[in-house]
């Protein structure tokens, strides 16, 4: 999928800036969700970690991330394969040199990318909560925000080989991802899986017979308020992504907004209904995970599908997230307190795939983009190639980076630190100083 043209109208630029400035609210929402789903004795450390990883991601993306990500039409490292040129890494300037901060598509891409790297870095915090050291998550974010995210974002949004699958090999319009279902959500989700595997489960999570026990989140209000905040952020993320990276007309943002809220709504309702049917009452944490999963799934095709398709995509996402949370815990030894792997990786993968199934809305009045996106086998194949890349390349890469980091700088807190709580261990003070540590969480079940 080719990207936007070289210029936007003033109205489009202003709208785009407003949309992008909403994106940090998605980060705030994710931070609240992760914190609420963790233990009370790690709440302050998790919020502090969220702030730190957003900061680290912004700085590394500024220093070299955007240079690696690049922008369509800008210099890039290429290699020839099968007689075609494959662009695999941006060749831009460090420190955002040569980016004119004038509302041009390139400058907007840099701003959106900076927030996108932060969002991707926030996702693994949910999987590592209650045991991931503050310093370790900052270093891990350096690797994610400075290397892995820009590399894959170049392939999708920077005119890289995935985006060129259409032009080079006739696979539809090439790999399409409007709002970051792959570049942000799956990227963060597979990193969360790597972190959950490398850190291991929390103490007391698994009994001697291998069955996982429930460790409920400490504040459902934070979680559900976080869900509302994420919606606002996602409205900005999907709208800005569709304009900046897919060149759709600013007026299409109405459709994008509708196609953002509908999947979230149907996913949350699906999760609530499923948990109500299974457990007798709707489960707040799984419903919240379903909501986020619906938002993640919406990011793939939000600018190119009909609202009815959005409802279906959300309902499927809610189903996938609800059951995968349990499956990951039971069968994959992945203790993921925030449900990040299910909500972001599963939701995002489904969102990427849904482009091949549901995307059929012609671009209208697009600036710098010609043609339409219509669901056809070539588009399917392009989306599958993107999914294969996420699982076959990004997952091993993030695991390898974090495994190496863990060898030189152990990422998991000591057993005593985990017993104390991350607040006391990392920060020296708790989020709720009037609370006592509940030692019964460590007694035999």
């Amino acid at each position: 999928m080719s990207s936007a043209g070289s210029t936007f109208s003033a109205t489009t630029s202003v709208l785009c800036v407003i949309f992008i400035l909403l994106v940090p609210l998605a980060g705030a929402g994710l931070a609240l969700i992760n914190t609420g789903l963790g233990r009370s004795r790690s709440a302050a450390q998790l919020m502090m970690s969220s702030l730190c990883v957003m900061s680290v991601a912004a700085i590394v993306y500024f220093v070299f991330g955007f240079a690696f990500q690049g922008y369509p039409g800008n210099p890039a490292h290429t290699m020839a394969m099968g007689g075609k040129s494959w662009s695999w890494l941006g060749d831009g300037h460090l420190f955002l040199h040569h980016v004119a901060f004038d509302g041009s598509p390139k400058s907007l891409a840099a701003l959106l990318g900076m927030f996108g790297a932060g969002l991707a870095a926030l996702i693994p915090l949910g999987a590592g909560s209650d045991r991931w050291r503050l310093g370790a998550c900052c270093i891990s974010t350096t690797l994610l925000g400075g290397w892995v995210y820009p590399l894959f974002a170049h392939w999708v949004w920077g005119g890289g080989w995935l985006a060129q699958l259409g032009a080079n090999y006739g696979l539809g319009q090439g790999f399409v991802d409007s709002g970051g279902a792959s570049t942000i959500q799956v990227m963060g989700g597979v990193t969360a899986l790597s972190i959950a595997w490398i850190l291991g489960p929390r103490q007391g999570k698994y009994a001697h017979d291998g069955m996982p026990g429930a460790i409920p989140g400490h504040n459902a209000v934070l979680v559900l308020f976080g869900c509302l905040l994420t919606l606002v952020g996602w409205l900005g993320l999907n709208s800005a992504g569709a304009i900046v990276f897919n060149g759709v007309d600013a007026g299409v943002s109405v459709l994008v907004a509708i196609n953002t809220i509908l999947p979230a709504a149907s996913a949350a309702l699906a999760a609530a209904l499923i948990t109500n049917a299974r457990f007798g009452k709707p489960d707040a944490s799984l419903t919240a995970n379903g909501w986020v999963g619906g938002l993640a799934a919406s990011s793939g095709a939000c600018a190119f599908m009909q609202p009815l398709s959005a409802v279906i995509i959300g309902a499927v996402a809610g189903f996938l997230v609800t059951f995968s949370v349990e499956w990951f815990e039971l069968h994959m030894s992945a203790d993921d307190p925030g449900g990040s792997i299910s909500a972001h990786a599963m939701g995002g993968l489904w969102g990427v795939l849904s482009v091949g199934i549901f995307a059929h809305v012609p671009l209208r009045g697009a600036e710098g983009v010609s043609g339409t996106i219509v669901a056809h086998p070539g588009q399917w194949l392009a989306q599958l190639v993107g999914i294969a890349t996420l699982i076959g390349f990004v997952l091993p890469l993030t695991y390898c980076f974090n495994w190496l980091l863990n060898r030189v700088y152990p990422q998991r807190v000591s057993a005593e630190g985990e017993r104390q709580g991350m607040d006391l261990h990392d920060l020296g003070a708790g989020a709720y100083p009037e609370f006592l540590t509940h030692s019964e969480e460590f007694t035999e079940r």
Binding site: M81, G82, W197, G204, Y206, V385, A388, I391, G392, P396
Partner: protein, 59 residues
């Protein structure tokens, strides 16, 4: 086991890339892409087996 799982993941991806780059007809290309994804799924299964549930995780 972990190394085998990761090797299968990367091998599956290599099959997908090779199919896209070298095959021109739609059906063989799609078949090899699906085969590559199949290899990745097997690799992921091996990885899951390589991370068994840690029974009795206690302090």
């Amino acid at each position: 086991m972990k190394i085998l799982g990761f090797m299968l993941l990367v091998s599956g991806w290599a099959i997908v890339l090779t199919a896209v780059a070298l095959l021109t007809r739609d059906v063989p290309r799609a078949a090899f892409v699906l085969a590559g994804i199949g290899v990745e799924i097997v690799g992921f299964g091996v990885l899951v087996r390589a991370h068994p549930v840690r029974r009795g995780e206690r302090e």
